[in-house]
Amino acid sequence: MYLALREMRFAKTRYLLIMAIMLLVSFLVLFVTGLAGGLAYANASAVENMPATHFLMQQDASQRFARSIVGEKELNKARSVVGDANAQRLGVQMTTVTGGTDGMKTDITLFGVDMGSWLAPTVVSGSAVSNTGAGEVVVDRKLAEEGITVGSLLHDQTTGLTWTVSGFTENQSFSHTPAVFMNLSDWQQLKQQMAGRAAADPAFAAPFNAIAIQATDAEAELLSQQLEGTAIITKKQAVASIPGYKEEQGSLMMMISFLFVISAFVLAVFFYVITIQKTSQFGILKAIGTKTFYLARSVVAQALVLAAASLAVSCMLVAVMQAALPASMPFQLSPVTIGYTCLLFIAMSLLGSLVSVIQVARTDALDAIGRAAG
C-alpha cells in the first residue's frame, strides 16, 4: 500500500480521470439494476406478492395464467393432497375498463379470489370486499392516478358489467397493468357473461385459470404425479412466464453484464498502459531487492482502491437519485442487491488488474542496468 497510495497521491489527475470513468460505469450498473428490479416488480408484483409457493395450471398452457383453464376436479384433488386451506382458486383475466373522471380507457387485470382466504389483497384505504358482496372490487393504487377514487365505477368493455371500487391495495400489478380483485361470485358472473349465458345460471361452474398452492416442494411433486394433464410450477416460473417479463429482464440483464465486462476492460487497459510505462521503474525496484509479490500487491491495491472509491460515490449518487425519483418511476434496489453488485464489480476490477500483475511479474531486474530509462 505504501507505493500504491503515494503514487495515486502524486498522479492525482490520472487516477481521478480513471475513477470518473469507473464511477460512471458503476453508477450505470446500479441504476440499470435498480431499473430492472423496478420493472420486474411493476410487471409481476401481483404474482410476486401472492403468498403462494406454487401454481397448478393446465399442462399445455406454457405456464401462462391466461392460457390455462382448471376446474373443481383439479381443485378437489389438490386439496386432498395439500389440505383444504392451502389450495385456492385463482382467476386471471386481462380486460379494458372505462372509468375515472374523464372516462378514459384503462387496461387492467382482473383477479378472482376467495376474499376469505390468504389470496385476498391487503387493503390500504377504503374497505375490503367480502365474499357475499356483489359488484365490488379492490383495485391497485396505480388506478388512483387515472382519477379513480373509492366509489368510482369501472365499466367493463367486453361484458358490459360494472363494478364499484370499494378499496385500494398497493404493489399489485400484472404485466404492467393494475390488478383489480373481485370475489368468486363476481368472477362466476363475469365468466358467465363471457360465455354468453343467462345472468343467473346456478348450474354453470365457472372455470378459473390456476390453483394457488401453499406447499412444500415434496408435496408439490406428489401432487403433480397424481394429477394428469396439469403442471405444477413454482412462483418464480409463473412470474417469468408473464408476457414480456423475460424479454424485458433479458435485455436489461444483457446491459448489466456488458457494463461489468466493460468495467473490467477499462481497468485492464488503464493498468496495462501505466504498467508498461513504468516497466523501467519496476526494473529498478526489483534490482534494489523488491519482491515481485510486493509490486503485484501494489497494482492490485490500486485497482481495489479505485473500484471501492468509485462504488462508494456511486452508491451515494444512487441513494440521492432514489430519493429524487418520482413515484411513478419503476426503481427498486435493495441493500442486498447493492451488496452483491458491489462485490461483483470489485471482483471484475481485480480481474482487470490481473493482466498488469502478469506484466509486472515478467519485468526483469536487468532492465535497470545499462539503460538510461527515466
Partner: protein
C-alpha cells in the same frame, strides 16, 4: 564483517547469438576490499553492463563464483538473490532512477520498509544520510523538483540506506556536468571511506578518475590495470 567485500573468481559469461557463441567475460577475477572505490572503464560493448549485472547478483555467470561480503551467490534462487540485493548491495543507476512519486525522504524510507527496518531507526538513518549528503533541506521535495546532481545524491543516500557491504554505480555521472559529476563522485568516495564499505563504479568519465583508488579497464573479457 570481512575485509574483502567483493570477490569475483574466474567469471565467464557466454551469450548465444544464433549459431555463434559470444564470450563477453572470460575468466575475469576481481577483489575489492573495504574502503576501496574501484573504477571500471571500457568502450561500449566491452561487457561493462554484463560485469556489473553479475557482480550485482542480477545475472548468473556461465561459470565462476561471486562472493559478496564473504557469501557465495552460487545455488541461490531468485528470491534469495533479491533478498541479498536488498540487504547487502547498493545500486546507483544512470540518471538516478528515483521513483517520481516519492518524496526524497520516502525514497529512503521505502528501502528501509522493504527490508523491515525499525521505523524509528530508519528515520534516524535517513536523516543522517541526507544530512551528510547535504540534502536535509530537500527531504520533502519530489524528484522533478531536484537538480541532476541532487537526484544522484539521493540515489547515493538510497543505496546506503540498508547499510550494504558493497555499492555498484552504473555511470553515475553520465547525466551530470563536470563540476556536479565531481561533487557526486567525491561524496561517493567519502562515504566509502566513512562507512568502511566498498564501491565499484563503471564509468566513461575520465574527469572523476582521480577520486578513485584503483582504475581498471575491461578488455577482451578481463580486467586489467591502467
Amino acid at each position: 564483517m570481512t575485509a574483502t567485500k567483493l570477490m569475483l573468481n574466474e567469471i565467464t559469461r557466454v551469450y548465444h547469438d544464433g549459431d555463434t557463441e559470444l564470450t563477453v567475460l572470460n575468466k575475469l577475477s576481481l577483489e575489492v576490499k573495504a574502503g576501496e572505490l574501484v573504477a571500471v572503464m571500457g568502450p561500449s560493448g566491452s561487457g561493462k553492463s554484463t560485469f556489473l549485472s553479475i557482480a550485482g547478483a542480477l545475472l548468473t555467470p556461465t561459470s565462476g563464483e561471486v562472493l559478496i561480503d564473504g557469501e557465495s551467490l552460487a545455488g541461490k534462487n531468485g528470491q534469495q538473490l533479491s533478498k541479498l540485493r536488498l540487504h547487502n548491495i547498493g545500486f546507483i543507476f544512470q540518471s538516478a532512477n528515483l521513483l517520481p512519486y516519492l518524496k526524497v525522504e520516502e525514497q529512503l524510507m521505502l528501502v528501509a520498509k522493504l527490508a523491515d527496518m525499525d521505523k524509528r531507526a530508519a528515520q534516524a538513518r535517513s536523516a543522517m544520510l541526507l544530512e551528510r549528503l547535504g540534502l536535509l533541506h530537500r527531504r520533502s521535495a519530489y524528484p522533478n523538483q531536484l537538480s541532476g546532481g541532487e537526484k544522484q545524491r539521493v540515489a547515493i543516500a538510497r543505496a546506503w540506506m540498508n547499510d550494504p557491504a558493497i555499492l555498484f554505480a552504473d555511470e553515475p555521472t553520465a547525466s551530470l556536468d563536470a563540476s556536479r559529476g565531481q561533487d557526486v563522485v567525491a561524496m561517493l568516495a567519502r562515504e566509502v571511506k566513512a562507512e568502511g564499505k566498498a564501491a565499484v563504479m563503471v564509468t566513461h568519465d575520465e574527469r572523476v578518475l582521480h577520486l578513485c583508488d584503483r582504475i581498471l579497464h575491461l578488455k577482451n573479457g578481463v580486467l586489467v590495470s591502467a
